[in-house]
Symmetry: C2
Subunit: 248 residues, 2 copies
Amino acid sequence: MLTHFKLTIEYDGTDFHGWQIQPDQPTIQDEIQKILSSMTQDNIIIHGSGRTDAGVHALGQVAHFACDTRISAERFQVALNLMLPKGIVIRECRKVSSSFHARFSARSKTYRYRILNTQIPCAVGRQYVWHIHRPLNIRAMQEAAGHLIGEKDFKSFEGTGSPRASTVRRIHRADFTEKDGLVTFEINGTGFLKFMVRNIVGTMVEVGLGQRSPDDFQKALLAMNRKAAGITAPPQGLFLLQVDYEPH
Amino acid sequence: MLTHFKLTIEYDGTDFHGWQIQPDQPTIQDEIQKILSSMTQDNIIIHGSGRTDAGVHALGQVAHFACDTRISAERFQVALNLMLPKGIVIRECRKVSSSFHARFSARSKTYRYRILNTQIPCAVGRQYVWHIHRPLNIRAMQEAAGHLIGEKDFKSFEGTGSPRASTVRRIHRADFTEKDGLVTFEINGTGFLKFMVRNIVGTMVEVGLGQRSPDDFQKALLAMNRKAAGITAPPQGLFLLQVDYEPH
């Protein structure tokens, strides 16, 4: 009799080669699976809501797994948090119905990207920001962000190497805030292509530096061509904040 | 003709064996001295406002050095920030008069200690907090903190191994604040003994956990005996925030 569990996971991507299991590289999926497999004496596979790239962080990644066990959700959480590397924390573990799927049941995801826009970089917390020393025009970047809202084809912002059948996604909100030189971008939508947030942020930074206009940002989006967009923002500023589901 | 410079330094203590130069260990003093010596073709010694222990961070450590050079303060700052490890940043470099001494001219110092008081630890930013999962009584800790204010003998909170001629110091303020489970303690005073802030925080945590009363904290202080006080808080929650000087 299989029991289904949902995990909500925080991780510091600094020390990992991303979410997905890879030969000979530490990944978040692998670290969690190893412990679950050892606890249950079974070969456990966990399914994430999606991959995150090497160096990208998460405050609320979600994964599920199923196994024939009497171990409680609470016990899994306590044991995982004792045994996992300190860069991975299980924020919640709960039983869910067999219909729950971390990826396919997701309604929307929220990402956060942090830019430190000060003349001098920081030492404390440098693992969690992209430092840009030239002043950014946040108003222009916010104007560009407006062009993302709605159902659009985001082919221009898709990383190479993993083409999807459809590159259409719906973005619900995309907002910049700024406080004491820390520029925070949050974007919520139905789903995201590979490198999509980092390519959007990189292109928006070109807007913020005056190298592109907000209109040019829109043209890059409409071109449906990766070459029309700008650079890829580095991974360490990016956080998978939250994955939303129907009540379950 | 010697020119005198003041450095204001931020560092992430995680990767260093403290401020002070040591054989075969990376220290902040050593990293900065190496670059300054190479730039000036001279044997530069920098003098900090005081040591910080291995793993302790700083947002505003201050140091000074003197050398016979035509290199400008701005040039020193730019070159240092290019060549230093990413965990050390020079926030400011300026010329000062020959009477300025980072340690002896200091009027007061401010330290911050960060405690994450939540059931589940964090992964992101774990290098910068002491995680305590049992709930702390902040009100009792603040009451204990009140006993620190004024000119007192802090012998009970002095680490072993470096006795000072006098263990009397004046504390101007010592306050706890709490937000979303993050407990922040800030303490300002004329000077601090070795391990003093960490021993104070460790003993206060015993108050917060109900293992000591605020009155018992005061008794520990008055005992002038290290054994009367509590545990030493771990280094990674501690930040040297600021060193204050007379206008110079």
